[in-house]
């Protein structure tokens, strides 16, 4: 009793908004806009499911381009961050060089810098570099919060690889570079997967940079497009909005479902310190 009741309440609290998203996105408008106190109104189910809202999204808005933009930006910034993070993590955890400690601390501090601290000067810089309203404004800035995280996580994985493994390869004639590329990095592949999936969800999730740096509708990402193009003044198109929220969540949910274990490892690794 003390287990199942609280557990059920937790699940209800945590998952109900998603249920509500799903049911709203397949509900006809006539049923959607009924005041909460009207009689014989059952808000939790519908007998007349419809795909109108989804059709509206793809025919009347640029939702398909938003999906493509978000995917492209998330994949590109994840790739950049993984390369940088793996290299930096390797250097900081396995090589001796001056200032290694302070550099590590510096990267850790940038890990804790929230996007909302710098978005105004960054918007100016993006404009000066003539990157405004292009996907590159995000592909280049997302790594600022992804690299520190990837570096931090990879340092943990690299530290666990025994030094002897690398030394053996070097005795057999491999250069440092080869030993890193062919011996140490393959051992840390689970870590790379964790960092990758985590970085992908973070960049899919990012909002304020995308909101500030992108202006034309066809350049927008899903979160920004849904926010700015499905609301006209004070009018909310709740059906398409919820359909957009649902469809915009599916890619990241699928990616997550394939790599749950890696995601959890990334999450807990990121706070292990």
């Amino acid at each position: 009793m003390f287990f199942y009741v609280p557990m059920a309440l937790f699940l209800l609290f945590l998952l109900f908004p998603f249920y509500w998203m799903v049911i709203t996105s397949v509900r006809p408008d006539g049923e959607l806009y009924r005041p909460w106190n009207s009689v014989n109104y059952n808000p939790f189910w519908t007998w007349k499911p419809t795909l109108d809202h989804v059709r509206y999204l793809f025919e009347e808005t640029l939702f398909a381009s938003w999906l493509w933009n978000t995917t492209f930006i998330a994949l590109a910034s994840t790739a950049i961050s993984l390369v940088c993070g793996v290299f930096a993590g390797y250097a900081l955890s396995r090589l001796n060089f001056p200032f290694a400690g302070s550099l590590g601390t510096g990267i850790f501090i940038t890990y804790l810098v929230p996007q909302t601290l710098l978005f105004i000067p960054l918007a100016e810089i993006i404009r000066n570099y003539r990157l405004g309203d292009t996907p590159w404004s995000l592909i280049l800035t997302y790594p600022t919060f992804l690299i520190p995280f990837c570096t931090w996580l990879m340092m943990g994985y690299f530290k666990a690889v025994p030094k002897e493994l690398e030394e053996c390869a070097r005795i057999d004639g491999a250069s440092r570079w080869q030993a890193m590329l062919y011996i140490v990095i393959p051992v840390a592949i689970p870590g790379i997967l964790s960092a990758g999936i985590f970085a992908f969800t973070l960049s899919w999730n990012e909002f304020i940079y995308a909101l500030v740096f992108l202006s034309s509708p066809e350049q927008k990402t899903v979160p920004v497009g849904v926010t700015s193009e499905l609301i006209r003044g004070d009018v909310f198109y709740w059906g398409p909005l919820m359909a957009g929220a649902l469809l915009g969540s599916i890619p990241v949910a699928i990616a997550y479902s394939f790599f749950v274990e890696h995601y959890v490892a990334g999450l807990t690794g990121s706070v292990k310190g």
Partner: protein
């Protein structure tokens, strides 16, 4: 033996290209590996930070460079009633949500730490609020809090708890409570899963031994689980405090800072002033006003991690 001797000589006869010899030096290799990271972080974190400080002491607007005005922007915002409300709101928002996220997250972690059927499945589903894009899930909440079509009002009405409608997002206090609820909803999974990882490193034998010695469940929690979990708890809390303090998305979607600017946080107010009305330098000053608190939290975190590592 013979083979290794042979390979040794062949290596010496054909020295690797110069590029590789350079990379044989640890310091050069480290430098090459770190350059991309340093360049990106320097260009898009360190440089904007300096630009932000420079911007905040000028009178720049969009498309207008502006002149040096000293601390006038800071002086102006500290005398601004809305800014003061935002400061109060941000502290309230961070404090209240952190307490609830910790309490509920710890409770959920302890529930998940038992063995039951469908555990992996439950854990995977519980993380959904954390991985689904916040803006998108916040819209679901906004729809649930809608003044006319609120499903929450329907529920409370049919449970007999209310007789009239509650205008969730139209009243300053209720709007604040609403965004606090959404933040808690989004943060509990992160706390729960991180704390669960911490709980799993605590040997069950400790608890069993204490139980045999007659310790009650509450005593066992207080004297065994809590102290052993404290390092993880601290780090998770500090991360969460930074994220919550600088939060933007939930308030932007739920209330946009309204009604009547009553629910602004630092970030949403900075956005409204800096991007909305185009007063770049004032917006930058509002953003930077977060810095002292964030800096303090980062320092605490660094000192704490050091201490744990030394131990």
């Amino acid at each position: 033996m013979a083979i290794s001797a042979v390979s040794d000589t062949t290596l010496r006869e054909a020295p690797p290209p110069r590029r590789h010899r350079l990379l044989e030096d640890e310091r050069w290799l480290a430098f090459v590996l770190l350059v991309p990271t340093i360049v990106l972080l320097g260009m898009f974190i360190a440089y904007p930070f300096i630009r932000g400080i420079l911007l905040s002491v000028t009178s720049s607007r969009v498309g207008m460079p502006g002149d040096f005005v000293g601390l006038a922007n800071f002086y102006k915002i500290f005398n601004d009633g809305i800014f003061r409300t935002s400061v109060y709101n941000t502290f309230l928002y961070t404090g209240v949500t952190t307490v609830f996220k910790l309490a509920l997250g710890l409770w959920l972690a302890m529930l998940l730490n038992r063995n039951f059927r469908g555990k992996a499945f439950t854990r995977a589903f519980i993380l959904l609020p954390f991985i689904i894009p916040t803006v998108l899930s916040t819209f679901a909440w906004k729809w649930m809090f809608d003044p006319t079509f609120s499903v929450l009002n329907w529920l409370l009405y049919h449970l007999g708890l209310i007789t009239g409608r509650i205008n969730w997002l139209g009243d300053p206090d209720l709007a604040m409570i609403s965004i606090i609820i959404v933040n808690i909803w989004r943060g509990v999974p992160f706390f729960a899963i991180s704390l669960l990882a911490g709980l799993q490193t605590i040997s069950p034998e400790l608890n069993e031994a204490a139980a045999i010695d007659g310790a009650k469940p509450w005593q066992r929690f207080w004297h065994i689980t809590w102290p052993l979990l404290l390092p993880v708890t601290m780090v998770v809390m500090l991360f969460s405090v930074i994220q919550t303090f600088a939060d933007f998305q939930i308030v932007y979607v739920m209330t946009g800072g309204g009604p009547a600017n009553a629910t602004h946080l630092f970030a949403t107010y900075a956005y409204q002033i800096g991007i909305g009305t185009g007063l770049l330098s004032e917006g930058a000053a509002i953003s930077l006003a977060m810095f002292p608190v964030l800096f303090l939290v980062v320092i605490i975190q660094l000192l704490y991690i050091r201490r744990v590592e030394v131990r």
